[in-house]
């Protein structure tokens, strides 16, 4: 799902390469993106170090979302699904010169396991390192207490990055970023900038771009302006309006790719109104997704279901698309006993259908979409108060039960396999159904069991020949524990000084090592 830029095809004429390698030694690439640098620990800014290709994980992901070898060259699992063996790549050096061994990887994973993160939910019993000094063959063995087919995908998550032992202090907090990636950290000045240089002892191919600086610019306008004035060669995450404007700029080209991220409305199914799936459907029918996508987000279309088409397997093309039908929405509310009152707002008995919608402004489109939703819900007789606050209010509200509606953008592929997000967001237990960023008050025992089965055994077709992933999508579409609104695209601006830029739809890498200076 990678979209190449419409740039001149890369012709590697010999003199062209010579010229560019000579020039590129002095050139520094300027990257601008919204993410602040918080610290060296993987938990704080690890995803940025991964995007800058300073650190690597055992398992990597290709543009289609398929797993591919990273620091582990291959992996096998025993038939009972309890013992995983990862063969470590040989001759891999950290940026401090030390050698990657299975023992080093084991330590890094143990440290990651001790911190909050996805790995906590994996039934790991113990991790063993087998370094054979005579053959140089190193293997990492992970013993599970029960089968977990998605384990390699979990190891691709940025929190499982492998750092050199010297990076950590005694408590396991990383104080420096000493990875194995094609770039090494030259300097880091939190919160706004860091600089990297190509690592000459990298195990893979040497990149064309030798130096790069990253700058965090939190305002979307600021990023667009820097792009326009030529101060940024590579701008990550552009807002819709700037995209329109930069289209005419002679300096840059735009690139865009769908990402596994969906804009969705979390609904508290414990709420007196929303415990009926008909009322949740009425909410969904009130939303004009096309207008939101085209006017506010400037995307071609809205979401017709939770999973975008790019998440192959999980996207179920056979599902009836979510759409707007205000009249039907009103009928559903009437049928559920909600009558329009004098003020235009519906009520049942003495309960008024007035709710609070929580969202946050870290993503500038969220308050805008929330403002549109407020009007569209008003049109079917639901009064909505907007609460634009810190995003922590959403999981906090989930836990104290106070949340009613929340609007946010959810990454459906936290681990490259969406099963990870589904497990944490929609499974849960009967006592604590759903998850912080997913269902609230909605629980389907069979569905949860099926998710657990998929995590354990993988998602091969079941006995009746159905793809369990498409079935899962259908269950979510029928019950609407969350209401999908739009699918996201990642939007970049790339200077015409560069070529062969590609968008990584999985948001794992800026793709620095694949970039080339234009001859």
């Amino acid at each position: 799902m990678t979209l190449s830029l419409g740039l001149t095809s890369v012709v590697h004429a010999t003199e062209g390469v010579a010229l560019s390698s000579q020039e590129s030694a002095s050139r520094r690439l300027e990257i601008v993106a919204p993410f602040d640098i918080k610290g060296a620990d993987p938990l704080l800014s690890g995803i940025l170090f991964q995007r800058m290709q300073v650190v690597e994980t055992l398992v990597d992901v290709d543009a289609k979302g398929e797993l591919r070898p990273g620091l582990a060259t291959d992996w096998t699992v025993t038939d009972d699904g309890l013992e995983w063996r990862f063969t470590m790549r040989a001759d891999v050096h950290f940026h401090d010169g030390s050698l990657l061994t299975a023992e080093v990887a084991r330590q890094a994973l143990e440290i990651a396991r001790g911190k909050p993160g996805l790995l906590k939910s994996v039934p790991v019993e113990e991790i063993l390192a087998q370094d054979d000094a005579s053959t140089g063959k190193a293997t990492l063995v992970i013993h599970l207490s029960e089968p977990f087919a998605a384990l390699p995908a979990y190891l691709a998550d940025y929190r499982q990055q492998i750092l050199a032992p010297s990076a950590y202090d005694d408590s396991g907090t990383a104080l420096a970023v000493i990875g194995t990636g094609p770039y090494r950290m030259m300097s880091m000045s939190p919160p706004l900038s860091l600089e990297v240089a190509a690592f000459v002892d990298y195990w893979g191919e040497q990149p064309d771009i030798r130096r790069a600086r990253y700058q965090a610019v939190s305002r979307a306008e600021g990023r667009a302006l820097m792009t326009e004035s030529g101060d940024a060669d590579f701008t990550y995450s552009l807002d819709p309006a700037s995209r329109q404007r930069l289209r005419d700029s002679p300096r840059v080209s735009l690139a865009s790719a769908p990402t596994p991220r969906t804009l969705l409305l979390k609904v508290n199914a414990n709420h007196a109104a929303f415990n009926s799936s008909d009322v949740r459907r009425a909410l969904s029918l009130a939303i004009d997704r096309t207008a939101i996508a085209q006017v506010v987000l400037r995307y071609p279309e809205g979401a017709s279901q939770l999973f975008p088409p790019m998440i192959e397997g999980w996207h179920n093309a056979a599902l009836p698309a979510l759409h707007q039908d205000v009249i039907k929405a009103r009928e559903l509310l009437e049928a559920d006993g909600w009558q329009v009152g004098e003020d235009g707002i519906r009520h049942k008995g003495d309960q008024r259908l007035a709710v609070t919608l929580i969202t946050f402004s870290d993503r500038p489109e969220l308050p805008l979409v929330a403002t549109v939703l407020e009007r569209q819900f008003h049109a079917i007789g639901i009064a909505t108060r907007l609460d634009i606050t810190n995003f922590s209010a959403i999981p906090a509200g989930h836990h104290d039960g106070s949340l009613e509606l929340a609007l946010f953008a959810r990454n459906l592929a936290l681990v490259p396999d969406p099963i990870g997000t589904l497990l944490s967001d929609y499974a849960g237990t009967v006592e604590a159904p759903g998850g912080d960023w997913g269902a609230m008050g909605w629980h389907d025992v069979d569905f949860s069991a099926e998710l657990a089965r998929m995590a354990r055994e993988g998602h091969a077709a079941s006995d009746n020949g159905r793809d369990p992933r498409r079935e899962a999508s259908r269950v979510l579409q029928d019950a609407l524990p969350v209401i999908p609104i739009a699918w996201y695209y990642q939007n970049l601006a790339i200077s015409n000084r560069l070529e062969s830029a590609q968008v990584d739809p999985w948001e794992r890498s800026f793709g620095l090592s694949d970039l080339r200076w234009a001859p």
Binding site: F35, G39, L192, L225, M226, D231, S392, P395
Partner: protein
């Protein structure tokens, strides 16, 4: 104001910032550990486990009536603690960021003194003239534009349309110019008026007439007699400009992506990093009092008449 009352003021500032920060910590809407976890991990990775680990680390459950006294004790010993987000000592963070802000503020102040007072002096020499009147109009216009708007206008004009300077960023000398100019224009609008009024007043005094009468040239009169009188209000105003600068810095740094204390403050407030908010506010408040003390002393040097 004498030194002892300045010291008293210093203590008061420390008490007030401490009290406000404590109040902030106590009345954080919702559970502070959620906020802190949010600031640390971002929305994709924030969950109940992350918040729980923050809660465990901070020992947040415990907070009694005595805690304010402990809190105060820490502040009085200038124990600013560690940032809740990065885990770095607040002192280190502030030192780093304060340097960036000070260099920006210094550049702005210098620039404003290059623009404002010379124009003001020229206008004041011929009060009511064309220069005087147009300067008045320009100053009024400049003062009615909020700083963030001025910044946008400058970015659009100079960086985007003309492509002369970078729109945002930091690290090189050219990155200084636009933010410093934005801050300087606002300051210059005021210092030009101050200089103009002082100069106009000086030209009407008896000693000025006398100096002209005894045959000194315009320039000689100005250097010998005028400057000292004009300098006094300008120097006094300098102390107040510091506060204006600090506030401007909060807005300007966030627009230009300048890694200074203003940017840090806004971020700390968003993520409820109370030790950082407290630390930055303390440093700014104490800095202001100290600068005013220096300004008092300098003012006394310039105008010894008030000293008994």
């Amino acid at each position: 104001m004498n030194i002892s009352s300045r010291l008293l003021q210093l203590v008061m500032v420390v008490l007030m910032v401490g009290g406000a920060s404590f109040l902030m910590m106590q009345s954080l809407p919702g559970d502070a550990s959620w906020r802190i976890a949010a600031g640390r991990y971002g929305y994709d990775a924030l969950d109940a486990a992350a918040a729980a680990s923050v809660r465990a680390e901070m020992g947040m459950e415990a907070s009694g009536g005595l805690s304010f006294l402990y809190w105060l004790g820490d502040i009085l010993r200038l124990e600013l603690g560690t940032s809740l987000i990065t885990g770095e000592p607040v002192w280190n963070e502030i030192r780093h960021q304060l340097g960036n802000s000070l260099s920006l503020a210094g550049a702005a102040l210098g620039l404003s003194f290059l623009i404002g007072p010379p124009l003001g002096l020229l206008a004041g020499l011929r009060a009511g003239g064309l220069l005087d009147r147009s300067l008045l109009a320009i100053c009024s216009l400049l003062r009615a534009i909020p700083q963030f708007l001025l910044a946008l206008v400058l970015i659009l004009l100079i960086a985007v349309e003309m492509g002369l300077l970078p729109a945002a960023g930091h690290g090189e000398a050219k990155h200084f110019i636009l933010p410093a100019l934005t801050l300087a224009l606002g300051l210059a609008a005021v210092s030009a008026r101050l200089a103009r009024d002082a100069m106009a007043a000086v030209t009407q005094t008896a000693f000025h007439d006398f100096a002209r009468w005894k045959g000194l040239s315009n320039a000689q009169t100005f250097w010998r007699h005028g400057l000292r009188h004009v300098a006094l209000p300008l120097v006094t105003y300098l102390g107040l400009q510091f506060v204006t600068l600090v506030e401007g810095v909060v807005v300007i740094e966030s627009i230009f992506g300048w890694p200074g204390i203003g940017h840090a403050l806004v971020h700390a407030i968003f993520s409820r990093d109370v030790p950082m908010v407290q630390g930055t506010a303390l440093v700014l408040g104490i800095g202001f009092v100290v600068i005013n003390l220096l300004v008092d002393l300098l003012g006394r040097q310039l105008d010894p008449r008030g000293v008994k």
